[in-house]
């Protein structure tokens, strides 16, 4: 690549971000066409994908060398000290170039090759099919043509952008449309119109000939503002949050007040509040709801998708969540490339709208630990790839753009890879029917129910993690249990076979029970690089990086498909768990 001048620098120090005593690791820094790689003296590797880099900064020279700070979109922050300024400068310049791609075609997804053949690629893209999803929801039906609705309720969630009404003017077309929607709902003649903006913002928009619905001009609507702030407020809020959480030697008190002042949790709460309002209108009043903001692709996506998640348990499955993202985010034109800054463009377009959605979902999983089939690792992995540009799904700003880019021919879809590694993303506590009344989730949005998402914002800061994870523990144990049950079945089958050689039926049964291979044994195909095997319980991870399978939750259970689980397990249970 023309941007790379230096490919290897030795004796580079990687400083611990939170160490007050400037603890560091020494190793070698490599620059490849796609990744920045640091290998320390104990051969641990840190991979950073160029697309993940949000900012590179060269700090003033110190006695030990030239400091280089890299901030990533997945909230990793690394602080290198390069001994010679010259090398540092080269790397800095290369990274600046490499992390700012000008054209879509230069993104990693267009060169990434996971060794799939073409039919697999096509199949991968067909995995999530929206037409099928609409069929599942029961539309089109007598009342609805292809649109966005919810199967279980006659009421519907609709979405749009703001009406072009302007000051005092009316927008007749819009009035007719709304009437049509409200007629489509036989059970409640009223409908809600939710404007997800704060009222002030909506009024300001009037000056530009846009605005919001006036209840008087529409028959049978109830209008409601729900006050989610705009993308610029969200961006600076996140910035404040990161500044607080990145402070060295932070005291408990500074952390709490910093967290509060960033307003971040308040924004998450506002989003979830809006979703709860939506759900109440639909489920309790059976009223249809039209949701909009200014453009209908940010706040509207957040609210509609969360609403759907609360209403429909299908979206709480792994596959369903993929469908939800495809439907409410990708196909409805959330501007992923702009919001995530995939290309070098207007920094004011960047905003953590999707991150907020994931965080809202995480908060829900905390409140309803048994209602979701997926776990935190799944959300983190999706977040990773929304920014990685390794798969085609999130490239571009709308469906049209994606078609022009021939995404489906030239790149791969993320979903089949996630499905292949499903095991890692399963919530061991999930129980789809443990409580039937929970089809409809009613989260509490009292502010103390919103917690700082440590595993997102400190995903790569090992010192910040709890030393053991209950989730991992439970996953290990349930995996062991499964394995043992299987072993027992096998043994029983053998006995049956021995006792009743003559009975053909038993033999057949035996054969069946022996053959199924645990899916965990498959190598996840999107591992770019061989990973050293890491003990499952080793919560304090030693390898980090940013290739696909590489956020810290990625390796869980493979170990347990080995033989002799009876011996392995308890030792694990104890020896490994001590620290």
């Amino acid at each position: 690549m023309e941007h790379i001048r230096t490919t290897k620098v030795e004796q580079v120090k990687l400083l611990d971000r939170f160490s007050t005593s400037n603890k560091s690791l020494t190793g070698t820094l490599y620059l490849t066409a796609t990744h920045l790689l640091f290998i320390d003296s104990s051969q641990r590797e840190t991979w950073i994908l160029h697309h993940h880099i949000a900012a590179v900064e060269k700090l003033p020279l110190t006695t030990s060398g030239c400091p280089l700070v890299i901030q990533c979109k997945n909230f990793r922050v690394v602080h290198f000290v390069v001994p010679r300024e010259r090398d540092c400068h080269d790397i800095y310049n290369s990274l600046l170039q490499l992390s700012r791609t000008a054209k879509y075609e230069e993104l990693y997804a267009f060169s990434y090759n996971p060794k799939q053949n073409e039919s697999e690629q096509v199949k991968g893209w067909q995995l999530i099919d929206l037409a099928e999803e609409y069929k599942r929801m029961g539309v089109p039906n007598d009342n609805w043509q292809l649109s966005d609705a919810n199967r279980d309720y006659k009421a519907a969630i609709c979405r749009c952008s703001q009406p072009l009404s302007g000051f005092s003017a009316r927008c007749l077309e819009d009035e007719h449309m709304l009437q049509a929607i409200s007629k489509a709902n036989p059970s409640n003649r009223y409908m809600y119109v939710m404007d997800t903006r704060p009222k002030l913002n909506a009024m300001a928009n009037r000056a530009a000939g846009k605005g919001y619905e006036n209840e008087d001009n529409y028959s049978n609507i109830r209008f409601q503002f729900v006050g989610i702030e705009n993308i610029h407020v969200m961006r600076s809020s996140l910035q404040k949050l990161l500044e607080v959480s990145g402070t060295k030697g932070l005291s408990v008190n500074d952390f709490l007040s910093g967290l509060e002042n960033s307003g971040w949790l308040r924004h998450i709460k506002a989003v979830l509040d809006a979703a709860v309002f939506l759900v109440k209108a639909i489920a309790v009043e059976s009223a249809s709801v039209l949701v909009h903001c200014s453009d209908g692709w940010d706040r509207t996506s957040q609210v509609c998708s969360l609403g759907a998640l609360l209403l429909d348990s299908y979206y709480r499955t792994i596959k369903g969540f993929m469908v939800l993202i495809e439907k409410d985010w990708i196909s409805f034109g959330h501007k992923f490339s702009d919001r995530c800054g995939h290309l070098d463009g207007d920094p004011k377009e960047i905003s953590p709208v999707f991150t907020q959605f994931l965080e809202s979902v995480w908060n829900l999983t905390e409140q309803f630990p048994r209602a979701f089939e997926y776990n935190e690792a799944f959300l983190l992995q999706i977040h990773e790839h929304v920014h990685s540009c390794q798969f085609g799904n999130f490239l571009g700003n709308c469906q049209k753009e994606r078609e022009e880019l021939k995404i489906k021919e030239k790149t791969y879809s993320l979903w089949p890879f996630l499905l292949d590694e499903q095991k890692k993303y399963q919530n061991p506590l999930y129980s789809p029917d443990f409580s039937p009344e929970l089809t409809l989730l009613e989260p509490s949005t009292v502010s103390f129910n919103f917690k700082f998402w440590r595993n997102m914002y400190h995903q790569f800061d090992r010192s910040m993690h709890p030393r053991q994870s209950v989730l991992n523990l439970i996953m290990d144990m349930s995996e062991q249990n499964k394995q043992l049950e299987e072993d027992i079945k096998k043994l029983e089958a053998k006995i049956k076979q021995r006792n009743g050689q003559s009975a053909a039926v038993l033999v057949k049964e035996h054969q069946q029970s022996v053959h199924p291979t645990p899916t965990a044994l498959k190598t996840p195909p999107c591992f770019k690089k061989e990973q050293p095997l890491i003990p499952v319980n080793d919560v304090v991870r030693t390898i980090e990086g940013s290739n696909t399978a590489d956020n810290r939750y990625s390796e869980f259970v493979e170990e347990f498909s080995k033989a002799e689980p009876a011996v392995v397990s308890l030792e694990y249970g104890v020896a490994r768990m001590t620290c």
Binding site: K23, S42, V252, D254, E260, S447, R467, V470, N481, M577
Partner: protein, 671 residues
């Protein structure tokens, strides 16, 4: 409250049976309902006020037997912090003994010291008189209980025996009165001390009975661990030089050889002679190791703790904080900050003990508060045994109960307390432990539920554990007796039944059955509840601590001899220790070797960085039902049990080979 004396008022036999010996029902209101959660859910039942507690007996289907004491429906009278009566006609009113009720309450809210909020309501108008009476009775009884508790034993109150309510009706429960109950060392007998010393493998230390009659140091336990080489005769020289005569003694011996000691402050007026100093050095430098003095200066003071806890209580009331200000209000309590400080300090001491073979002396002026906390936290971090359920109970028994933590004063259970004496150091310790359990869920043999139960039990008068200020007092059988009353040993040994049951004349004929320790969990917690106490077992930890495991930054920990002769405590510990993160982070400093992801030897090094410290919501936010959603996931214990069953099964298959006649169905436990 005279009504209770009349047995005729006890009503149906069921009610009577439900009261332990020595307890009197003062008032009862059948047909009350207890509200559940936020919504309209409620259970019907009877609201009782006795001379010891307020209890709600949910209506039972006839014939079913319920437990006498039910942790979830009982509030011991001293545990009631505030009693509020409400009706739709007037403003809610706070009830005290002095200001009684002037209206018929429709609802009664009981704010408890353990952060619970119980709400009862009386929905039928026919209930008016009972509602009125029971509300007043509670207000009165609460006052009375608090006073009586303070004025020495004997008057029923909080101090008299709960009898043995588990007798008879609880046979099945009792017989499995579990291993941990018996495995818990109470450290009242010489044997316990010897047994524990042996477990620690502390060669060079012995049990001294020099304080057997509590004449050396009244607040110290009967038995002390001191160096084998030191004669009791020499030891006696030391008592006078320490505040409250609390001499340095061993708490814990690290398998790597270092010792953890604790002591009171140097007595300001003492002038140790050279012989005294020699004895002192013999204690502290037992293993010829340098000894580091860790004082409590960095830790929060009693006043800090009390203030933080008060604010925390205020914060956790319904509607106390505006939505927007939750985090800054939490910050304002400083509670989490104190938790973090204690954890950090304990981590430093624990890594000192594990990392270098130096001994650490914990020194606090009184040696009865933060030393208890620190000594037990350090052991939790360093000693896997103390993380098992019996081990933890033994730990509390030794470092808190026997060591003379003044529980009744600190928990504010005494009416006559000067306000300065209240400081829930023990609750702070439980919070620290909870943080550890959160951070190392697999390292502990007990769960959050257990800690909650312990938290709540510290307010109940049904166990002896938290009712005395030191071992000497516990021996009297009548807690709360101020030590100045010199006549008490005679008088208080055995209160005549007439005095004990004075209010109602319910005698128990002869000896007072001693109060059980809090560890008899079967008393208040059902088998089901107790099952939730346990975490998967942690019994086969590798033998900890062979050799140095840490690579510490050079020079940060140079062993220092104690500056005894100057009479001043040496500089603060933190100057010599590496910061926690340099140990806990695990990423090597020295390079070369593969850094261990975590230090071996069962040493836990907690993260005390702000995002890792959490509010113990299940405890503190119990009064806010809306905060409780979603934290009731099943525990790993269930899975671990399943795993064990399966492994047993598998083992037996393998051992026997296939049996000739295979069982019809596989015993797969339900998933």
């Amino acid at each position: 409250m005279g009504r209770g004396g009349d047995p005729g008022r006890f009503g149906p036999p069921r009610t009577q049976r439900a009261v332990p010996a020595g307890e009197l029902v003062l008032e009862e209101a059948p047909g009350a309902r207890q509200r559940l959660g936020e919504g309209d859910g409620s259970v019907p039942g009877t609201l009782l006020c006795t001379n010891r507690r307020l209890a709600f007996l949910p209506a039972q289907p006839p014939g079913s037997r319920s437990r006498i004491l039910r942790s979830e429906h009982d509030v011991a009278l001293p545990c009631i912090r505030k009693l509020v009566a409400a009706s739709s006609f007037t403003k809610p009113k706070v009830l005290t003994a002095a200001s009684t009720l002037k209206f018929i309450p429709e609802e009664l809210a009981v704010f408890c010291r353990d952060f619970r909020l119980l709400r009862f309501y009386f929905h039928e108008h026919g209930l008016a008189p009972q509602a009125f009476r029971v509300a007043n009775a509670i207000a009165q009884a609460r006052e009375a209980a608090a006073w009586l508790g303070d004025s020495g034993g004997g008057h029923g109150g909080g101090s008299c025996s709960a009898g043995d309510p588990e007798e008879k009706e609880e046979e099945e429960e009792e017989e499995e009165e579990e291993d941990e109950g018996s495995a818990t060392l109470l450290f009242e007998s010489l044997r316990d001390w010897e047994e524990e010393l042996e477990r620690l493998g502390a060669a060079g230390w012995r049990v001294s009975a020099v304080n057997e009659r509590f004449d050396m140091a009244p607040s110290l336990p009967r038995y002390l661990w001191v160096p084998s080489g030191l004669l009791d005769h020499d030891l006696k020289r030391l008592f006078g030089h320490f505040e409250e005569r609390r001499v340095p003694r061993l708490c814990w011996h690290h398998p790597g050889g270092s010792d953890l000691l604790r002591a009171g402050g140097f007595h300001p007026a003492s002038e140790p002679g050279s012989e005294d100093v020699r004895c002192l050095e013999a204690v502290l430098l037992g293993g010829c190791r340098p000894c580091v003095v860790a004082d409590a200066t960095e830790l929060p003071t009693l006043a800090d703790i009390q203030l933080a806890h008060l604010k925390l209580r205020g914060l956790c009331l319904p509607g106390a904080v505006g939505e927007e200000r939750w985090l800054s209000a939490l910050e304002g309590t400083r509670w989490l900050e104190h938790v973090g400080t204690c954890l950090r300090k304990a981590g430093e001491v624990a890594s000192l003990l594990a990392g270098r073979s130096c001994s650490v002396l914990l020194q606090e002026p009184s040696d009865r508060d933060l030393n208890c906390l620190l000594a037990s936290l350090v052991q939790l971090l360093g000693d896997p045994h103390s993380r098992s359920l019996p081990g933890f109970q033994s730990l509390i028994q030794r470092e808190w109960v026997a060591a003379g933590h003044p529980f009744p004063h600190r928990l504010g259970l005494l009416r006559r307390n000067s306000p300065r004496e209240e400081a829930p150091v023990f609750l702070l310790f439980l919070d620290c432990t909870w943080q550890l359990v959160q951070q190392f869920p697999a390292a502990f043999g007990f769960t959050e539920w257990y800690l909650l139960a312990l938290h709540d039990s510290s307010f109940t008068p049904y166990s002896s554990t938290f009712l005395s200020t030191c071992q000497r007092q516990q021996g009297w059988g009548t807690p709360h007796r101020p030590r100045s009353q010199t006549y008490t040993p005679v008088n208080g040994w055995r209160d005549p039944p007439g005095v004990s049951g004075g209010l109602g004349g319910v005698g128990w004929g002869g000896a007072i059955p001693p109060l059980p320790p809090v560890w008899a969990w079967g008393l208040r917690y059902s088998r089901q509840q107790r099952a939730r106490f346990r975490n998967p077992p942690v019994d086969s930890f590798p033998d900890p601590g062979t050799g140095n495991v840490f690579i510490l930054t050079k020079g940060t920990l140079s062993p220092q001899p104690l500056p005894w002769r100057s009479g001043r405590p040496p500089p603060r510990l933190s100057r010599w220790t590496p910061s926690l993160e340099s140990l806990g982070g695990g990423s090597s400093l020295g390079g070369g070797t593969h850094p261990p992801p975590s230090p071996p030897g069962g040493l836990l090094l907690p993260c005390s960085a702000p995002p890792s410290l959490r509010l113990w919501r299940r405890c503190y936010l119990r009064g806010l039902p809306e905060a409780q959603r979603g934290r009731f996931a099943p525990s790993p214990a269930v899975l671990a049990e399943e795993l064990r069953v399966l492994q047993d099964q598998l083992r037996s298959w393998r051992a026997q080979g296939p049996p000739p006649d295979p069982p019809g169905r596989p015993q797969t436990p339900p998933r």
